[in-house]
Assembly symmetry: C2
Homo-oligomer: 332 residues x 2
Amino acid sequence: MTSYTAINLIKRPQAGPISSELFEVVQKPIPQVGPGEILVKQNHMSLDPAMFGWMSPDTESYIAPVELGTVMRSSGVGEVVASKHPDFQVGDRAMGMMGWQEYALGHGAGFNKVEVPLPDETILSIFALPGLTATQGLFNVGKPQQGETIIVTGAAGSVGSLVGQLAKAEGLNVIGVVGTDEKADWIVNKLGFDGAINYQSSELDGQLAKLAPNGIDLYFENTGGPIQNLIFERMNAHGRVVVCGMIADYSKPVPSPGPNWIPIIKKRLTIQGFTMPDHFAEVPSLLAKLTPYVMSGKIKHRSHVLEGLESAIEGLNLFFTGENKGKLMVKL
Amino acid sequence: MTSYTAINLIKRPQAGPISSELFEVVQKPIPQVGPGEILVKQNHMSLDPAMFGWMSPDTESYIAPVELGTVMRSSGVGEVVASKHPDFQVGDRAMGMMGWQEYALGHGAGFNKVEVPLPDETILSIFALPGLTATQGLFNVGKPQQGETIIVTGAAGSVGSLVGQLAKAEGLNVIGVVGTDEKADWIVNKLGFDGAINYQSSELDGQLAKLAPNGIDLYFENTGGPIQNLIFERMNAHGRVVVCGMIADYSKPVPSPGPNWIPIIKKRLTIQGFTMPDHFAEVPSLLAKLTPYVMSGKIKHRSHVLEGLESAIEGLNLFFTGENKGKLMVKL
């Protein structure tokens, strides 16, 4: 093997599904490592909703978009196969922003050794972007209090499923909003959510009233969509809304309107958006907060693993259809 | 004179203009003061958008609604005409929640002596609800920084006009949104705003771009309405939105939708609603913050004075039409 496959972004996405026209699949020679460099063979590559932001031409976004003609950005886990870096040995496991490619060359910055004896799927499902995002959003933005009621949209998703389990471990009443009955069953019966609502079912307001008889104190938003209005109406005074994702709107030519703002005044709500790139300096403290929950067995996950690098392209559309079951990733 | 006029709320408002059917005008005997009581003859009575909340049946609201069959709630300034209270002498000026009536009896709690030698109009325009609201919202919620750009809706209103002038005194670039050219002229040429936009004119986005070339850091919302979307699009990263009023929606049967939430994530916005009843304990510190600006001549105001108690009923509709010029009040 002297060459490897990589996928470059060559066109910005428009509204609608992601198509293969946005990408080119290229062969590259496997590089030699120079002084201070490591070469990682990637084994599992993460797919995340944040990628729609990274591909977008919006210069106001929170992180520079992927330059056209360069490899698509992503995080992954792999094995060090060559090293001239003092901190990495051949055979070490490493994670980092490796991109859509079989091999990644780096200077060590942005790569971390994986020392916990957990499978790649667990690392990418919990200790990478989803877990960091869930921990930052729930604890540092949402400030949950024991006995409160939280509602989480996209509750079977990579971030939402962790938010709900962490909140449950903190003693909150936890309601999840999902898009299929199978997901509703999973979050209640496997993850321990107190209740689930399939937003495609009827009588949403009645279901909300039943599951949140004392109103909603904390609303963790991963999706957007019309249920926003019903949740807003049931927020308690001084409620907090953590805005983490709006996947329901990323592929729409015209994003849906949000709820009217009168409840923001009447209930003195605080609504706060956040993204992880603002908080990369806090990663060590976030991991320190998250790890005990995981090690004590309180956090379950499931992975939806696609096979082969090129499956990533079509795989992104699973975020729009909601057909992925668990944390989406690609096995190389 | 042995009797006086009072106006009771007898019916809750529905969507649409306020009508006289909601009220009954009654004559009451002027009471004798008992031990610890004072009797105030009210001279000027304030009309405020908050009254729509006080009349509303919504039990989730931030302050108990006015009970049907009792006098309509309002603040006012008057003269003590009888006192068996050690802190008040006949002839003292007092302000407080006096209601829609010519005389108010109280135990002293909720009444404050007015010691500053300023006319009633100034007291009600600056040192009552509008000034407290502007000071709390701008400084404690909005946290303005010198050099930032703020946009204020309802900028010729009782709260908005103060917010803009306080922000200007703090060294911000201040843009006001108003509903008439006369108001635009007033806030720029008399109050010192850096720019004004009449939301009824065209090319709103072009006007915004010109007045806020570096984007908007702080958005003080008094009105709601479609310009929300344009402002949202121009918010800077880590921008703050202070939600103080939604007067454009209070009289609508179906409130208008708000902006889509994608900018909340992309720009990591914080949107916070507040109302003064949560902050009555902070009134002394708010007045201490506000007073030096007023005494140094940095805060101008104008009053729109209606004549006679019963003018209050129809007067409330001026908030919906935006026809009031300055702080709305009634001279008794």
